[in-house]
Amino acid sequence: MLVPMILCLKMFLRRSGAICSIITLALLIAILVSLNTVVNHLALQVETLGSLIAPTGSFVILGKSSTALTDSRIDADLASKLTNLNYFEYFSSQLVLIANLTNGNAGSTVKIRGLVDVGDYLKSKGAYVNGTTVKNSTEANVGEILARAMSITIGDKVVLAIGNKQAEINIVGVHRSQTACDAELLIQIETARALTGDNNSISLIEFTIKKDVDVRQALKQIVQLLPENVKLVQVQQLKEFAQQVNMQMVTFLDVWSIAVYAVVAAASYVIATRLITESSYELTMLKALGAKKHLKFILIITYTITVALLGAILGTSLGTAGTQAAATLLRWVKPSLDITPFLEPHQALKILMLTVIASTIGCIYPALKTTRTKFMEQTL
């Protein structure tokens, strides 16, 4: 059975229509491969970005409904509950406020951060301090950018006001941390509370996890202690960013893949139907020679799969080589634009397999229909 089948297959593949079918499928697959290769380059960029930085374990606890630090309010007792846990390398309760700052004749709205230990906070940010750090409730450290904008220098007395509450503060140091606190005024949390008149709430809790602690386990335990009205946010969103970018690319590829495989299935239907119509003489002759129904079925399926496989191999090569050639041309035109399209071997294998599957699905109906056609109904 194998020998006549191979002979028949050879006969079918020698038809001029077979080459057209292979080229048609190859062009379809090449479209998909071309998109894959460019998207792979983009994905590699995101992967490179991710590999360049090791995400740190900095987290903040904020009010659930808050969209910003100054809007957030959480229960101050939560901090004392969490400090019992032995997971933290750095732990800081903070009260972040917007206040009116007056320095002589100049006045402006500024962000102030009330902290339990200003020195510890500045140390955690790797800040340089010109002067000293805050030691009591009448002192403040001012960020370099804010100091420059409002002409504040060490020794100045500034007035902070929120509503009808005011506090006179001495500037004892100017800091530079290359973080957001360079544009803020740092004071003790008691001073900040005196300005708000609220001793029971804070804005946020910032913490980092010890290096020798299992972060997942620690977070699980921390979350269990959190009330429903707060949320835990990881400060560095590297994973989320990479996931979102990759998800956009995957969605783009998925849409195209589904469309291309649907067309491959439709093309395979046409290829199988065309084979049956154009080779009706040969197929009828086979039947007259005693070939069973299933032989015809297997023959049509094998032919379509062979055409699809050859088309997929040709298409994969054409798509990869074509895109690389186009990228090289683009690089000549624009030397700064370095695109290196590539296809992973497992992707090539996946494309081949999915093409074969789509093709099989497409040709099953015409193949089955042929087996049901009676001898007398065969068109010659």
Binding site: C20, I23, T24, L27, L28, A30, I31, S34, L35, V38, V39, H41, L42, Q45, T48, L49, L52, I53, P55, T56, S58, V60, T67, A68, L69, T70, D71, V96, K111, I145, L146, R148, A149, Q178, T179, A180, D182, A183, V233, Q234, V235, Q236, Q237, L238, E240, F241, Q244, V245, L318, G319, G322, T323, A326, A327, L330, K334, S336, L337, I339
Partner: protein
């Protein structure tokens, strides 16, 4: 069809062959179009990211592994702007970040220099000032996507650094360019979230105005 073939002299051009030819030409065109579209899409995205345009030259670190991670010394901006014929030089610090759980790019700028290169149409609010470190202008498409309103406070979480920054939306702008998908802040904010020191920026754009020979 036969008559047409006879008239045109293509006696060998039968209907079936025409169909095959049409399919192959159509698919080839589609392949070419798709390859060109994806590559040009990448090219446009890249140039938009860098902010290149007509009469705008960009100085950036070509050796960096990705366009996000390159850094150039900020002092070059001043040197470039002092060159003869250079109208303006705009140092910019780009930082990927997430706002309201959505990934997007934040561009730290010096507003005065930036708006000379890219005039912005303010849909709502006003242009930010360099010393307003907590302020931001949001591109119109980003504002729609993230449902950001004028006057709202948003929290930008860093991707390259473990820093976050509260921003007060001072304006919503339209530029009819990919900038509409970004958030513009004072230069410092971009540097904080990028993790660059004050001495470095991601890129410097300038309008050399026939002064290319000076570079």
């Amino acid at each position: 069809m036969k008559r047409l073939s006879n008239i045109l002299g293509f006696k060998y051009l039968r209907r079936q062959r025409i169909l095959t030819l049409t399919i192959i030409v159509a698919l080839s065109s589609m392949l070419f179009a798709m390859t060109a579209l994806t590559l040009l899409g990448f090219y446009r995205g890249f140039t938009a990211y860098l902010g290149e345009g007509e009469d705008i030259v960009v100085v950036y670190d070509r050796k960096s592994r990705t366009p996000f991670t390159g850094l150039v010394p900020a002092y070059l901006s001043e040197r470039i702007s002092n060159l003869n014929g250079v109208l303006t030089a705009s140092p910019e610090a780009m930082a990927p970040c997430t706002i309201k759980g959505v990934a997007l790019f934040l561009r730290g700028i010096m507003p005065e220099e930036f708006t000379k290169l890219n005039p912005l149409t303010m849909v709502e609010g006003e242009i930010i000032k360099l010393d307003e470190a907590n302020s931001a202008m949001v591109g119109i498409r980003a504002a729609k996507r993230l449902n950001i309103k004028l006057g709202e406070k948003i929290l930008a979480l860093g991707v390259l650094t473990d820093k976050c920054q509260e921003l007060h939306v001072k304006g919503i702008f339209a530029s009819n360019s990919p900038l509409d998908d970004e958030i513009l802040t004072p230069l410092y904010v971009g540097q904080w979230l990028r993790g660059a020191g004050y001495g470095y920026v991601t890129l410097i754009r300038q309008n050399p105005h026939n002064a290319v020979q000076n570079f």
